[in-house]
Structure formats: structure tokens, C-alpha cells
Subunit: 130 residues, 4 copies
């Protein structure tokens, strides 16, 4: 199995020392802090916050998954080079937006698979319901 | 095999007579008419333009695919009921947004699979590059 | 959209003239002619009967799907070069075996996606139940 | 995120106490101990060794993945009830066979996702090359 990289495995020291590598491999969940019950909202899953992951045939993000609590909601599977036509293929920044609604507060998280560096799990993002 | 429903199979008469059924089963590609070369932009694939497809365990959109010309770029695979917590599950409206860039004009299209009604292909959407 | 190649599109003349190309792109379903009700049996989906499809980064079978009647049962998604380590990568012959049971006679079929040559649909295979 | 159940998390005591639950949730990799270089062979991934996992709409194995070392080779994605027509749906026993070849000894492993009980990782299976 590839290494399964959990956010809790990454110490502040590692984060500082290998910021680029760790940031662009960790999926980030971007969602509103609070939503209305039953209202559709977007949850973005993207690789990297400050750095971008390449999108090359020999090194790309093959899939991104969105979880709500312990339930898988959706998986986006990519063919390489989808995101970088016309620009530097090192600047991939793979991302997908899903659309969900809530009946109660929820924690969203994501998992991604890099064809060279294995499985990565995001931090959890809490969404309140008003 | 399930029936593969192509936009060219649907006559204006059918579209009028079975508007609800046809609209909510046909994926629609929403993209800008013109983009800058190498700039990242969003391509939304959503079921239905005026009607919504249900998102129930026994009847849901299991996957949506985005194609550029004849190339598959990405597939979003869904578990049922992801989009309808807290509201009428008949109001699913499954959709996914992908993020791409172009080096030349392109035609985007989509294919979807409904667990009860088979495979459906969208119309093509042209995106110019300036 | 890529061309969706149906078995009914392929005339005997085409099949003779482009035998290699057509054979290795068409998925074949291999299943027993008759099974016992409720008994697990294997259904193999493989590319090509007499010819093999390459398994190269720039040209491979990305997915195979198995359908029972108009229902999707399973999809196998491949990363390139899984099937050809230690031999000529032109000799890929991508295939997957699924395991199912029946309560009534059924028709199985398959669809595949080649990263260069689009979507291909198999002939149907009938399985009787005794 | 769901719990990611690793074989190293499961102590002999747990295995004894919760044998049924643990066995049917853990993917098993079945492969020959030794193969010829470049020869195609089957690698079976199946849920459970002595117990079977149900295949119900509300509780099923949604996907199985096969890894070679730290590389994902293939993913099989299932729709529910594919494996249990005509028999007790509690007797699912989801499994998929993939076909690979080797140029050097390899370790195969698998990961599965149960819609109720999260992600599970198999033990590694070593295959020698002669």
C-alpha cells in the first residue's frame, strides 16, 4: 500500500521544513461556515492552498474524494493534463466542486491519490446549519 | 446495454412532449464562451436546465463525465442522497464543476448515467480562446 | 464526445478490412451459457478476442464496464501499464473478471473507453438459468 | 473521514473477538507465490476469507482497489446487489479479478470501501518472479 498521509501525521516542524511538498499534496476542503437547512451549496476540494500540484502524465492527482463525516459522497477521477492546456504543466492545481445540502451540522473531509506520492487526507471542515 | 441517449436522437416534438423527463436526464455543460489561453476556468456539468433529477437510493445519477473533444477529462462518481439532505430528495439536481485551461478553442460535452434510465449525452459547448 | 462504437455499426466488410483495430478495441464478455439460480459465477470482460490492445501511458484502456440488461453492475478503472510489466507494452490485453449471480436469464454486455479511440460497446451475451 | 482500518491495527485478540466483522470487511489478495517474468496472471481481490460481506442497497462494498507496492493499478466500483441476484443478499462476497504481469518481485495489497464501515486495507501478498 502507499503511505496514507493523515493531517495528524504532519507536525508543525515538518510543515515548515517541507511546506511546498506537503501543501500541494494535501487536499483542502473549502465550504461555507454556515448554511441554511436544505439549501444547495458548493464544496470545493482542491490540492494545495499556497502551492500547486503538477498535472503531468507521469505525476498527477488521479482522484479526489469528498466525505461527509465517515460517508463517501463523491469521487472525481482525472485523466492527466486536463487542467493545464496552454500553460506550464507544473501548474496543475487539480480541484473539483461538488454540490450538497445539509439537514444537520456536518464535517467534510477529502482524500486524494497522487500517482507518485500516495494517499493524502485533508483536515476536517465544519459546516453549521441555521 | 442501456440505451445511449444522444442529443441528436431527441426531436423538437419529443422535447416538447416529454420535456420534464428529457430535460432532467440530459447533462448540460456550462462554460464561458471565451477564455484566455492558459487561464483556469470552471466547467460545470449539471443534470437538467429547467427540471431536476431525483437523488434517491433507487434512482440517482451515478456518474457524470466531462469530455473535451473526444477525450475524457474527468468523471464524478456519486453515492446516492449526497445532494438532498434536509430537503425533498426528489430535488436532487446532481452537478459537478471541473477546472480546466485551454491552448486552443475546444468543444466540451458530457455523459451521465442514471441508475434507472441509462446513458445520456449532452450537446456540445464551444469555448473560444483569445 | 468521442465516437460511441456499437457492434451494430460494424459491418462484416469493415470487420474484415480492419480486423486488428476493431477486434482489440471491442470489449468481449465471456460467461457460461447456463448457470444455477443464485450460484456465483465469473463474467470476464476483456479487450479483443484475437488481438491485444496496447497498455501504454499515451494509449490504454482506461475503463471497462459490465452491464446486465440496461443496468451497470461494475466499472474497472485502470492506471496505464498495469498489465505489461516485463513484456512488450504493446501486448496489454486489458481484462477484468466480475462475480455475479442470477435469479432469471440475463443479457450481459460491456463498454470500454480507449484513451485514443473513444467508447466501444460489446455484443450481448445471454446466460440461461436452470 | 471514515476510519482507515489497517491490518496492523487488528490485534490477534480483536481478530478472535470480532472475527466475523473483521474478516468480511478486510480485502484479501489472492495471487500465485511465483510467476514467470512477463507472464499474465490473475490477482483476485475479495472481501473476507471465511465470512461474506452483504451486498444490500444500504450496506455494500462500493469499491475495491489493487495496489502494486505504492502504486494503484486498478479500481473496481460496484453498484449494489450485483453479486446476489437469486440468493440471500447477505451473502454478497464482493470480489474482482485483475490481470497483471511482473518484471520483478512485487507486493500486492488492496483497499476497500464499505458504505457503512469505511476504508479497509489488506495484508500484503508477495509474488516472486522466476
Amino acid at each position: 500500500m502507499p503511505k496514507i498521509n493523515l493531517p495528524t501525521d504532519i507536525t508543525p516542524e515538518m510543515k515548515e521544513a517541507k511546506k511546498d511538498y506537503l501543501d500541494r499534496h494535501t487536499p483542502h476542503v473549502v465550504a461555507p461556515a454556515k448554511v441554511k437547512k436544505g439549501e444547495t451549496f458548493q464544496v470545493l476540494v482542491r490540492m494545495g492552498q499556497d502551492y500547486v500540484h503538477p498535472d503531468l502524465e507521469e505525476h498527477y492527482i488521479q482522484y479526489l474524494q469528498l466525505y461527509k463525516g465517515d460517508k463517501l459522497l463523491a469521487t472525481a477521477i482525472y485523466n492527466p493534463k486536463a487542467s493545464t492546456a496552454g500553460k506550464d504543466p507544473a501548474s496543475g492545481h487539480q480541484q473539483a466542486a461538488f454540490f450538497v445540502s445539509l439537514d444537520a451540522p456536518a464535517k467534510f473531509s477529502a482524500m486524494s491519490y497522487c500517482t507518485l506520492h500516495g494517499l493524502w487526507v485533508s483536515e476536517e471542515v465544519h459546516v453549521e446549519v441555521e
